[in-house]
Amino acid sequence: MHSRTRLAVALLALCGAAQAQQPAAPSHLRNNLSMCVGCHGIPGYKTAYPEVYHVPKLGGQTPAYLVNALKAYRSGERQHPSMRGIAASLSDKDMEELAAYYGGNGK
């Protein structure tokens, strides 16, 4: 097999394994979660702007911390252009549900 093909197959297998370990998200969360997984759902993903670093792991984090982080992004107290835009679209209830999903499930 071509080495690039082999790499692609291995990556796909890894993705499958990661998904298999995790329960499906509740249906009412999926719309909001789709905004998170674009960055936090990619293993090893790094921000591209304005600074480069790995986006934090959310799974297993304390829910109260996650809610506070989202609220701080929404208010602009915590600064990141993408996170501010996303948090601005979330209600308090949305934030609590997302935090419970990341902090509570999938262990």
Binding site: E51, G60, T62, A64, Y65
Partner: protein, 108 residues
């Protein structure tokens, strides 16, 4: 081929940046500065508002501490602690916490 080489060099550099920081020195510093609120290994926050640090990405931890220190990230408690840390301390602490096992995990 040139592109592959560039990627390899970038990865090597990124690896080097990751390796910065002395986890043993970070452990000692953590016992003085961080442990009371986050737990000695960053795994046992004393309050639910405090994040788990163990197993978090090293470069993210560095960024968080630097942002607290500069005031870009505004938290009265963390600002006070971060102000006492040198850049060396920050790298060491990040190396220590990032290398600890925890319930923190990648989740879609």
């Amino acid at each position: 081929m040139n592109r592959l080489l560039a990627i390899a060099v970038a990865l090597a550099l990124a690896g080097g940046a990751q390796a910065a920081g002395n986890a043993a020195a970070g452990k000692a510093k953590a016992a003085q500065v961080c442990a009371a609120c986050h737990g000695a290994d960053g795994n046992k926050p004393i309050a639910p508002e405090n994040p788990i640090l163990a197993g978090q990405h090293q470069d993210y931890l560095v960024k968080a501490m630097k942002d607290y220190k500069s005031g870009k990230r505004n938290n009265a408690i963390m600002k006070g602690f971060a102000a006492t840390l040198s850049n060396r301390d920050i790298e060491d602490l990040a190396a220590w916490f990032a290398s600890q096992k925890s319930a923190l995990h990648f989740q879609r």
